[in-house]
């Protein structure tokens, strides 16, 4: 038991050290070819995975899963029949991959350490508990591989493997709802698989290659079908509207799964793929992707305002920020790319921190709904502190997410001169960021709600829970330091808000105003007990429908526009 925990922690440390070493040793992109044995193995694995999907579809009588599994098999067979001649290397590690390694291994690793304690309190058998941890590690491995590959065929296999991982992990509790949501995640992600296979076929037919770098350097503005299909696959993985349901359904899984899906793995494939593809995008594709991305940012934030379940709020805000990341990657100016990378890293840290708190709330306080976390500040100031830092780091200066948003506005403003339609992207961005602020503070206000100075039960939290949170906090602080080094903002602009935010908890702890008399709140002389609840924004069904329709329309425009 002890030994297991120690070895997991040691392994996470090794992974983190390796990914850190990689970023310091960067320079020339690393390229490598895999021997043929591996290629055959990959084909075999592909077949196994697709057969497994088909079997699951038949087992649970889910027609979409069966349909997409069959379609994929058919397309995969077609890909196997074609033989492209232009070759390149299978493995390509560039700067973007290095950044992704950091996110995957360090943030993902911290979440696994957290999961050690979390899974103990579940009612699984010992084997299932251990295999849960193993599954998480497997997920990290697949993610590490997917950001290093240059071969679209291998990319497809790994894409399917992440789908498999998410399917297994979402359905881990094995109850009715978990199974249903897992199957939903499965068929939706299979659409992404179909899109990649389509991209492969078009790429082979037109450019005679299955390698990203060859495809991207040779792509002609008049024939971008492979690029657009890969972009669609990114939208599916990034749970963009209208594919958002799979990520929201993933909430039924144990919290570390949500944490790892949202922050370090899975969804981060979306912006990563966009970052790979942006050099090949024509003006039209880039504009459309930016508009879709910012639209998703805007509408997911809007939808989140009507939610109450803490994890669901976090989920929609992930979808929103992923939309922004994809939009930034599609703009493709150096500034936008930096903003995108900064957002990827900081979003991972902040979201991991918040999801860990969601886990603690569930396990230690049995709380799931925001409305119930009333006055948590009395029971566990530490958790409240982490939640506040988590939200603050997504909105306020001097944290990375703020810097990214700041740079996003700058880069979109710069693009308006080239194409006036970027004005809409800007408006979506401005509105979306205000909605998100509104959303985060809707939750935060609930934490503060405090009765006039009463003492209540103080709850002790396990070390395995708090240490990962502290580590993530440390990462945030390091991030602030790096943004200071890289001069994203002037030192004055960084230090002042940091001081302002830091001074509040200090004052809370020290200033008690002993001399001031305490009074009850003013209630217009009424004696009735009042119950304060949170505010909601009613979101009519047709608004949700309109948003989905518009987003789908955007994607069709993207495909049709390239076809014509």
């Amino acid at each position: 038991m002890r030994l297991k925990n120690l070895s997991v922690i040691a392994f996470v440390m090794v992974l983190s050290a390796l990914s850190l070493g990689n970023i310091f040793a960067y320079g020339v992109p690393f390229e490598m070819n895999l021997p043929d044995v591996f290629h055959n193995l990959f084909i075999f694995l592909d077949a196994v995975v697709l057969l497994y999907f088909l079997w699951q579809g038949i087992l649970f009588k889910h027609s979409y899963v069966i349909l997409f599994a069959l379609v994929q098999m058919l397309l995969y067979g077609a890909v196997m029949l074609l033989s492209p001649s232009v070759v390149s290397s299978d493995i390509l590690v560039d700067n973007i991959s290095s950044v992704m390694y950091l996110v995957i291994n360090i943030v993902g690793g911290i979440i696994i350490v957290f999961a050690l304690e979390y899974i103990e309190s579940e009612t699984f058998t010992r084997v299932r508990k251990n295999s849960f941890i193993a599954m998480l590690f497997f997920f990290l491995a697949v993610m590490n591989f997917i950001v290093s590959t240059n071969n679209i065929e291998i990319f497809f296999l790994l894409f399917e493997l992440t789908t498999l991982c998410s399917y297994v992990l979402i359905g881990y509790r094995g109850d009715e709802l978990s199974k249903k949501n897992a199957l939903q995640a499965l068929w939706m992600n299979q659409i992404g698989g179909v899109a990649i296979l389509m991209a492969l076929i078009f790429s082979i037919l037109q450019y005679d290659t299955i390698y990203f770098d060859v495809l991207i350097t040779n792509s002609e503005p008049l024939y971008l079908l492979p690029i657009v299909f890969l972009v669609l696959a990114a939208f599916v993985k990034g749970a963009s509207i209208p594919f958002e349901n799979w990520l929201l359904g993933a909430m039924v899984a144990p919290t570390p799964v949500s944490a790892i899906l949202h922050s370090a793995t899975m969804v981060k494939i979306a912006p990563f793929l966009m970052l790979k593809l942006f050099p090949a995008m024509s003006g039209f594709v880039s504009l459309t992707v930016t508009l879709i991305g910012t639209f998703v940012f805007f509408s997911a934030s809007l939808l989140a305002l009507s939610k109450d379940y803490f994890k669901e709020i976090l989920g929609l805000s992930t979808i929103a920020l992923l939309g922004l990341m994809m939009a930034l990657a599609a703009i493709g100016t150096p500034e936008a790319i930096t903003a995108c990378l900064v957002l990827i890293v900081f979003h991972a840290i902040s979201k991991a921190l918040l999801f860990l708190q969601a886990g603690i709330l569930e396990k230690s306080f049995h709380l799931k709904y925001v409305d119930d976390i009333d006055g948590l500040v009395n029971r566990s100031p530490l958790v409240v502190f982490f939640i506040i830092i988590g939200f603050a780091s997504l909105t306020l200066p001097p944290f990375g997410a703020f810097i990214a948003k700041f740079m996003a506005i700058e880069s979109i403003a710069g693009e308006i001169h080239n194409n006036p339609l970027y004005v809409f992207a800007l408006i979506f961005l401005a509105l979306g960021s205000v909605f998100l602020t509104l959303l985060y503070f809707k939750v935060m206000t609930k934490l503060f709600a405090k009765e006039a100075d009463n003492k209540s039960q103080y709850v002790k939290i396990s070390k395995y829970y708090t240490i990962p949170s502290f580590l993530l906090l440390a990462l945030l602080v390091i991030g602030v330091y790096i943004s200071f080094e890289r001069e994203f903002l002037s030192s004055l602009e960084l230090v002042v808000p940091l001081l302002l935010i830091a001074v509040v908890p200090l004052l809370f702890a020290t200033l008690l105003f002993q001399k001031a008399d305490r009074v009850k709140e003013y209630n217009c002389g009424e004696k009735d007990e009042i119950q304060l609840s949170m505010y909601y924004f009613h979101m009519p069904r047709n608004v949700q429908l309109t948003i989905s329709v518009l987003a789908t329309l955007g994607m069709w425009i993207l495909v049709l526009g390239v076809l014509l």
């Binding site: 308006i416 509105l431 602020t437 709600a449 509040v504 004052l507 200033l511 001031a516 003013y522 009042i530």
Partner: protein, 274 residues
């Protein structure tokens, strides 16, 4: 040096402005009005009052609101990045909103809620305004904007949009539902009293300075135009305040957001063709 003095005395200047405004508003209604220094007499009186608090968090957040707002004003005077200043101003608003929610008072909660909604209405307009300046001057830096020629003409629609923001920030009719003294007894202010209310009072004055400093940006390096803009907007604001009735919160959002976004969008589209 002059900048430092300006920053230091910013709350006082705001206080004088507030006092002056009360006289102007009274004269418009054929009243005598209070003396110019009335706000400072109020302050003096507040110091002597017995200090009451509901809980320490509430009071601290109120003080932080004032401190942050002062820093925002300082950053504008020092000519920092406009977009950054707007976001920092957001932080100061967030402090007062959190303060509003930190007490278990109905009026305070409604007020804080309305502050949040008002933020939803004006924040996108401020961001679009910053983008307008960026497209025109190639920089978000206030110091650069101040050195360039007046941008009132090319940014006229955004200027109009900004005019709808001013009454919200200064709690003037018809957009004063956030404070609404007769209905929700001051909203977020209600639970502050004595010394603690002084900080809120001074924050109110700083809000005046913030609003007019942003207004001056439209005049660029033209001091004459800046003075004219100030006088016209000041009189117009009080005239409208006297002549209109409060509108509901949901109407406020619809009007300001609808009008503001449309105007801003047209302006930015126009700029992109220049």
């Amino acid at each position: 040096m002059i900048e430092m003095l300006l920053i230091l005395f910013a709350p006082l200047i705001g206080g004088l402005l507030y006092g002056f405004e009360r006289i102007v508003r009274a004269r418009m209604q054929n009243r005598q009005g209070p003396p110019l220094l009335q706000p400072f007499y109020d302050m003096y009186k507040l110091i002597d009052k017995q200090a009451f608090i509901v809980n320490p968090y509430h009071s601290i957040l109120g003080i932080m609101h004032f401190v942050t707002l002062w820093i925002v004003v300082a950053f504008i005077i020092l000519g920092q990045n406009l977009l950054y200043v707007i976001f920092l101003h957001l932080l100061s608003t967030i402090f007062i909103i959190l303060a509003g929610f930190s007490v278990k008072s109905i009026y305070s909660h409604i007020g804080a809620n309305r502050e949040l909604l008002a933020m939803l209405a004006y924040e996108p307009i401020l961001i679009m305004m910053a983008v307008g300046f960026f497209m025109l001057n190639g920089s978000f830096d206030i110091s650069i904007i101040r050195e360039k020629e007046a941008s009132l003409f090319p940014l006229f629609l955004l200027f109009l949009a900004y005019l709808t923001v001013i009454p919200i920030k200064l709690k003037k009719s018809p957009f004063d539902a956030t404070e609404a003294h007769q209905e929700i007894v001051g909203g977020v202010e209600i639970e502050f009293s004595g010394v603690f209310f002084e900080f809120l009072y001074m924050a109110k004055w700083l809000e005046y300075i913030f609003v007019y400093l942003l207004l001056f940006l439209f005049a660029g390096n033209n001091i004459l135009l800046a003075t004219a803009l100030f006088l016209i907007v000041f009189l117009l604001l009080n005239l409208i305040d006297n002549a209109t009735a409060r509108i509901k919160m949901n109407h406020l959002i619809k009007i300001v957001l609808g009008v503001g976004i449309t105007l801003g969008m047209c302006n930015l589209l126009g700029l992109s063709y220049v």
